[in-house]
């Protein structure tokens, strides 16, 4: 009986972070403490800013994934979708730049968003209309996006036009009152997402679909529409991440975004969202993304680990972070 296993009453999810959801934040705190012990530079303003800025990509994509996963889906295509969107955006900007100059940048952003939404729509349609397990459907589109970027780049690189480079740079490297722009963007995305997930009808429906599809259906919710919408949100988030990403690396290649899907899902799960749906935690997801980036950072800053074993230590730390997260729930 579900109620026997049911967890003790938990604080309302929302803007404020309840106690029961403190897990990922505790894990983050523990990690930061360890980091400081290992190398005091870890806490330098500079390093912190770098790491958090960097985590923005994964965080933004993972916020979208929080919708998909809490609605009971899964999207493996996000990494290659990011590469594909980046490629489309850069090609478009390079194409219009000669005629419109730096206005190519906002136009390119719009194109990126539209592309992302279209990609999400495609994923959603295959999953809901085709009634195909999301794992397989998005594994398929992962191959498709990856191939398209390979094709677009002729197996090489799609690089942004020099003329646009400097104008675009601030989107990643700039700051407002000292806060790097990617951090602001991801905070804005998280705020909007938290609002949508916790404070709108759509968010309610999304979680309901993930919790029990039948109950949702009998309550007059169009399960297919809600699920598709979650994939669309995911696509839009990937596009936003791509928009921030372009100035950092200045190019899309067939290896851009490789294995991001694993990082994204890991961030979401570490953050406390249930992989089987029915429970989404936006701020947890953000914490999860920051945790992953801090772990990578710690690997660079510490000198203990043979370079060959970095992946092993990362694996161990992720498992420990999950344990901390889990334990705080008792």
């Amino acid at each position: 009986m579900a109620d026997l296993a049911a967890a003790p009453p938990r604080a309302e999810p929302g803007w404020s972070i309840g106690w029961g959801d403190a897990g990922p934040f505790l894990a983050l705190a523990a990690l930061i403490a360890i980091g400081f012990l290992v190398n005091p530079d870890f806490l330098s303003a500079n390093n912190i800013a770098n790491v958090v800025t960097r985590s923005a990509f994964i965080a933004i994509i993972a916020i979208g994934a929080t919708f998909v996963i809490s609605s009971g889906g899964l999207d493996l295509s996000v990494g290659s979708m990011a590469a594909f969107i980046t490629g489309v955006m850069i090609l478009f900007m390079n194409w219009v730049a000669p005629s419109v100059g730096t206005a190519a940048i906002p136009l390119g952003m719009a194109v990126a968003l539209v592309t992302g939404i279209a990609c999400g729509l495609m994923n959603g349609a295959i999953v809901t209309l085709g009634r195909i397990e999301p794992f397989i459907a998005t594994l398929g589109t992962m191959g498709i996006f990856r191939a398209l970027i390979t094709y677009m780049s002729d197996g090489g690189t799609v690089a942004i036009d020099r003329s646009l480079r400097d104008a675009y740079r601030p989107v990643y490297f700039g700051d407002v009152l000292g806060v790097p722009i990617p951090i602001l963007v991801s905070l804005a995305v998280a705020l909007v997402a938290a609002y949508v997930l916790y404070r709108t009808r759509y968010g309610r429906r999304c979680v309901a679909v993930g919790a029990n599809e039948d109950v949702a259906r009998y309550s007059g919710i169009s399960v297919a529409r809600v699920r598709t919408m979650a994939f669309v949100i995911q696509g839009a988030c990937v596009a936003i991440a791509a928009i921030c990403y372009v100035p950092r690396l200045g190019a899309a290649t067939p290896t851009t975004g490789l294995l991001w899907e694993l990082q994204v899902i890991t961030a979401v799960v570490i953050g406390g969202t249930a992989l089987r749906g029915g429970r989404g935690r936006i701020w947890g997801t953000v914490a999860g993304a920051v945790i992953l980036e801090f772990i990578a950072n710690l690997m660079v800053l510490s000198d203990f680990v043979s370079e060959y074993l970095v992946a092993a230590v990362q694996g161990v730390i992720i498992i420990i972070a999950m344990l901390i997260q889990r334990m705080s729930k008792r």
């Binding site: 500079n46 950092r248 190019a251 290896t255």
Partner: protein, 293 residues
Amino acid sequence: AEKKIIAVSIPAADHGWTAGVVYHANAAAKEINKAFPDIEVIVKTSPSASAQVSAIEDLSATRKLDALVILPHSSEELTTPVKAIKDKGSFITVVDRGLNDPKIQDLYVAGDNIAVGFNTAKFLVEKMGGKGNLVVLRGIPTVIDDERIKGFQDGIKGSDLKILDIQYANWNSDEAFKLMQDYLAKYPQIDAVWANDDDMLLGVLEAIKQSGRKEIKFALGGNGMKEIIAKVMAGDAVTPVETPYPPSMIKTAIYLTAAHFAGHAPVRGSFKLDAPLITKANAAEYYFPDSPF
């Protein structure tokens, strides 16, 4: 005196060649740290371009880097971040895959990917009398891979050598084994195979051996893996030559960079390793039995 810090940023060992890079980088670090008490070499590997960007940011955020030796995952993506390090006053050594803006580097050490493809092609054109059917296996879609293929295609231009097929096998021997099996099933007559990397060549050779097909006159690779060099030394008929693209170039680069500090002799400039054909005659020179590669 303050220690001079040389950071080395390279791709993680994800296949044979990069493994060689990691091996030689670690070896160089150990040797130099021991030999020069006032130089410290730190080696960091990264599994992807964005991780590599992160890694160099992290290194430079927490210490003053006197020099950065970098083998970029990809040229485009690393250009701007390396420039940022340069702007902080570090000496920049770029290895293998060049940056988009050569002005950034103080020192450039590289192999010649075009030559790897081109020299192999020339060898085949000559030995096969300018005609025959070829199949090609290419690596991971990257600039290096592109350059090698391009060099190869330029090399066979004007001859009657025909490329029947060209597919990615991701510099992975398993995938190359399967791909070669499929090539063999598809084409009744294959005169020569070129895998643009020796990891793949291993899989190719295994597939040919299994098929029992005898018409394949040459199966060539590239990079100078010790197993393949050994074949060349032994006078193997199917793999009589090899093109070097030694991962030890990272070691060369680190030593040169250290020399810049220790030797008080400026070492700026470009250093391009040749990719001459290795034949039975000179193979011993390229054979390092202790390297993992």
